[in-house]
Amino acid sequence: MADDAAALEAHLDAAAALLGLRVAPQWRASVLAHLGVTVTAARLVDAFPLEDEMEPAPIFAPIAPGGAA
């Protein structure tokens, strides 16, 4: 993970520029720390094998004409 430091910094700079987000110098260390923690969580999930057919589970229901919400 030590190699991650440079990758996280480069990623943050590129992604923030793409998203139009400003990262002030005084926030940078904190944002990078949170980015490292979040990427660690993401990798833990990513490392778990799932069948290709496993469907995602957010909420979606088709909306018929005249339907609410």
Partner: protein, 450 residues
């Protein structure tokens, strides 16, 4: 309160409302639970009760709402500074309306962590909601004001939200009963969101009876919240005293049996002993489930706030802003995987519920930390407080399971909490187990001495 004094012969409901308002006035300066007190509205509703307008199941029950609920006439601040610029709400949140329809009396809006991204109950704009049992300690978040208001005896019931633990953590740290219903059970219409695929609403109360009556009053479909179930309401109050003899109860092991202070497991053991629950079962990959919930929260929350992060980043609580900025940059492939893992984990949990009905787990890994405390040491590992108070709640809300929270006082010190977890839509089972613990004196609400 001045109106109450001005009327020559107030009825009993008006007297009770005036007394509730007076208690808020006298004590809340030290607790910090309320951000708005709706005194005129409360007294007016109480007069209507005295005039015989309502004899509902919650007639005269004083309640308040986390300030992410719309309250007509107030800007819905959701714990933030930025939202104070929003137009004042022109109508109430749906659950608030349902509580009032049952006769409950709204006394105000409650403090919370900014945009609900918090487990501490601290708020840099409004000051912390303090733990009424020890004003130097955290109330827990993000519904800190909700837990504190109930524990301080300022309200009978508080409405709150729970995305990763925000009903269950303050219920535990403040020593209250709480209910996080099944995902989709209670409408969220008219509330400010955080992570819509994880957001739940529910009550915190000083007794299981109040908890069940409030929950029942708030059930029912609502076309204005696309996640709300179309199932018919399944009232919990009628079966509250039915006992637990027909329920197979076990304790959750693995992730839920490590990484906390010994006393949080002692609280669970007390509940298990009372219920005769000897079996231990596991949810496989619970730590990974927590990581997935963490990831979805950071990214979906960031997407919600992206424009505010661009335009007004200096007005956020830095602790919230920095997490959200990090979340905004996470590659979407990770998030899509987490939503697929979510179904896998829900299927595994469903398998566990084929052989048990109720699972017990700690609500938090420790008693209330000190206000301002940034780290704690659990099981020999030093961790940041803010995300890790939810280590045991986060995997459960990730798959929307209903949880009743029971407050446990092991001694004269601060309380702990036990999660009573049921299969989806089985809130009534969880509540009657909480009731049994309350009746046995194992779970207990103690109004804070202030």
């Amino acid at each position: 309160m001045s109106l109450a004094a001005a009327r020559p012969e107030p009825g009993p409901a008006e007297q009770a409302a005036a007394a509730a308002l007076a208690r808020i006035d006298a004590l809340d300066g030290r607790v910090g639970a309320f951000t708005d007190v709706t005194a005129e509205r409360a007294l007016s509703a109480a007069r209507a009760l005295d005039a015989g307008a309502n004899s509902g199941a919650l007639a005269g029950v004083a309640f308040a709402v986390k300030n992410l609920f719309d309250v007509e006439g107030l800007p819905t601040r959701a714990g933030s500074r930025i939202n104070r610029d929003r137009a004042r709400a022109t109508r109430d949140a749906a659950l608030l309306t349902r509580m009032e329809a049952a006769g409950a009396i709204l006394t105000g809006a409650l403090n919370m962590g900014e945009y609900a991204y918090d487990f501490t109950g601290e708020n840099i704009h409004d000051g912390p909601s303090r733990n009424p049992h020890d004003l130097t300690r955290m109330s827990g978040g993000s519904s800190g004001g909700s837990g504190a208001a109930v524990a301080a005896g300022l309200v009978d019931v508080a409405l709150a939200s729970d995305t990763n633990g925000s009903i269950r953590v303050p219920s535990a740290l403040c020593g209250c009963f709480g209910l996080k219903p099944t995902y989709g059970r209670l409408t969220r219409a008219g509330t400010f969101p955080f992570v819509q695929s994880l957001d739940h609403l529910g009550p915190i109360a000083r007794s299981t009876d109040l908890l069940a009556r409030a929950y029942d009053a708030m059930q029912g479909p609502d076309a204005e919240d696309p996640a709300t179930t179309t199932r018919a309401p399944e009232p919990a109050a009628p079966s509250l005293d039915a006992g637990f003899a027909d329920l197979r109860i076990a304790t959750l092991g693995g992730h839920f049996a490590r990484g906390g202070e010994a006393e949080c497991f002692e609280a669970v053991a007390r509940a298990a002993a009372c219920l005769g629950a000897e079996a231990v079962v596991e949810f496989p990959e619970a730590a990974r489930a927590r990581a997935a919930a963490y990831l979805i929260t950071a990214t979906e929350g960031a997407a919600l706030h992206l424009e505010r992060l661009r335009a007004r980043p200096d007005e956020f609580d830095p602790a919230v802003r920095d997490r959200l900025i990090a979340g905004a940059t996470i590659p979407s492939a990770y998030v899509a995987k987490a939503q697929r893992f979510r179904r896998w984990f829900a299927q595994e949990a469903a398998r566990v519920f084929e052989t048990v009905d109720i699972l017990l787990a700690p609500s938090t890994p420790c008693r209330a930390p000190a206000l301002g405390q940034k780290t704690f040491t659990l099981d020999g590992v030093t961790l940041p407080v803010r995300p890790n108070l939810g280590v045991y709640t986060q995997p459960i809300s990730f798959i929307g399971l209903p949880v009743a929270c029971a407050p446990i006082f092991l001694d004269e010190g601060l309380p702990l909490g036990v999660q009573i977890i049921a299969a989806p839509w089985r809130e009534a089972d969880a509540l009657r187990v909480a009731r049994a613990l309350e009746a046995a004196g194992v779970a207990e609400f103690r109004k804070a001495k202030l």
